[in-house]
Point group: C2
Chain length 231, copies 2
DNA sequence: CATACTTACGGTACTGAGTCCCACCAGGGG
DNA sequence: CCCCTGGTGGGACTCAGTACCGTAAGTATG
């Protein structure tokens, strides 16, 4: 039986020390001393002190990108949902490491910021994909794409955090349900839930601002509801 | 005529140097040399090198928190929309500084990460407020709250970026429209339940979603406009 | 006017992250 | 045998950020 790899020794040493004396109180010097390697070796394996806790985020990001580009068969949000499930599964496979990371990011502000920043990268990826998929024919399409990406990522984070806190037995089932909710949120009402299946678009979304009485507004209201069914 | 304050000299020197030779290529030493002050003084005014570009984010965050806690008169998403408008107006008042910051965050990854992290703080604030406001009676309420917060923040960022890029003449009008869209997105379909906010300046903002005829909606509409704000 | 107290500033020295370079030492062909 | 290559260790360096101390300029108080 061979000794564990240098990389593993480093992660072990780092996480142990982070637990013992806290993240900021642990220097890279401490880590390499416990791991029994040189300081240079640490930075060769992990580009920074933070990176010990966030391993191969880049590779996962690439995997997500690949999944998105090769899944043109599915409609936009469904493809994104698939990619998101990929991310969640990655965390699930990490198992204990993911939970230790969560404990750390909950305490250390710098790590929480880094976590958020890396989430932002996924969101950016999704946004670009959805924007590309929708094409910004209509004004407001890019806004809609952005909100979609944000919603998808939020759903993922929500389920992930529930699992990390141990509040969730079957995260895969929950992510699927959450994704269905998100898709239903953006799908034109009437079609997915089958409440009232009208031909084109039974939904009426109305938003206006006025300082007049309702009765004074009625003609304008009626005009909005009958005339402009925004296509 | 007195010389500009130390703080202003520091920001000027920093931004100029960042433009000239880039962010990473500029040391704090360079900045203080050009500003004609000591190195210690720099860190007294700005806690870090990045903070020169992101001034008083903490104060703005506090302002948003105050606005949220004191705006119990409005329903959840409307209160959040008001707070978001506050943030946007802050950026608009910054004017040139905001644009220079945008140019920098577009190039330097570290700064972009910091920007995203600070946006995450707003989102967290909104999420907590909405969660609190909705109360998680139903399962999935906290997920919904999280998505709402994400959507609101996304809308803000979208309009802000458009303004920063000079693609947008009237950002306040756009943010209001975007917020109406967001509110309409989350208003439940089928039942003409909507949100109203009539306390600001005599104007009434109404947003709802329905698949029924206007005539069928009228009673509910009238209830929203007359009864609900009284309680 | 003199004495304290306060506030802002500058300087020095230090820690710690991250980089660079060079030297070492395996193994694996020629 | 030498050469080449990849992983390693060490030492020196840059730079951000902190701690501490000394000092000059107000400002109140006697």
């Amino acid at each position: 039986m061979s000794r564990p790899s240098v990389r593993d020794r480093l992660t072990d040493a780092a996480l142990t020390l982070f637990d013992e004396r806290g993240y900021e109180q642990t220097t890279v010097e401490d880590i390499v001393e416990r791991a029994g390697v040189g300081r240079t070796t640490f930075f060769r394996h992990y580009g920074s002190k933070e990176a010990v806790i966030f391993p191969d985020h880049d590779r996962l990001l690439d995997a997500v990108r690949d999944r998105l580009t090769t899944s043109s068969h599915a409609t936009g949000l469904v493809a994104v949902s698939d990619a998101v499930r990929l991310v969640l599964l990655h965390y699930l496979e990490e198992g204990d490491l993911a939970r230790r990371r969560y404990a750390l990011t909950s305490k250390v502000a710098a790590l929480r910021d880094r976590e958020i920043a890396s989430v932002g990268r996924y969101q950016r990826l999704f946004r670009e994909f959805i924007t590309d998929w929708m094409g910004d024919r209509t004004p407001g399409a890019s806004l809609r794409a952005e909100i979609m990406a944000a919603a998808v990522v939020s759903a993922h984070n929500h389920v992930l955090r529930r699992w990390l806190r141990g509040e969730c037995a079957d995260p895969v089932a929950e992510i699927d349900e959450a994704m269905r909710d998100v898709i239903a949120l953006f799908a034109p009402a009437g079609t997915p839930q089958g409440t009232t299946d009208r031909s084109t678009d039974g939904t009426t979304v109305l938003a206006f601002r006025s300082d007049q009485d309702l009765d004074a507004l009625l003609p304008e209201l009626r005009r909005l509801l009958t005339g402009s069914s925004k296509g």
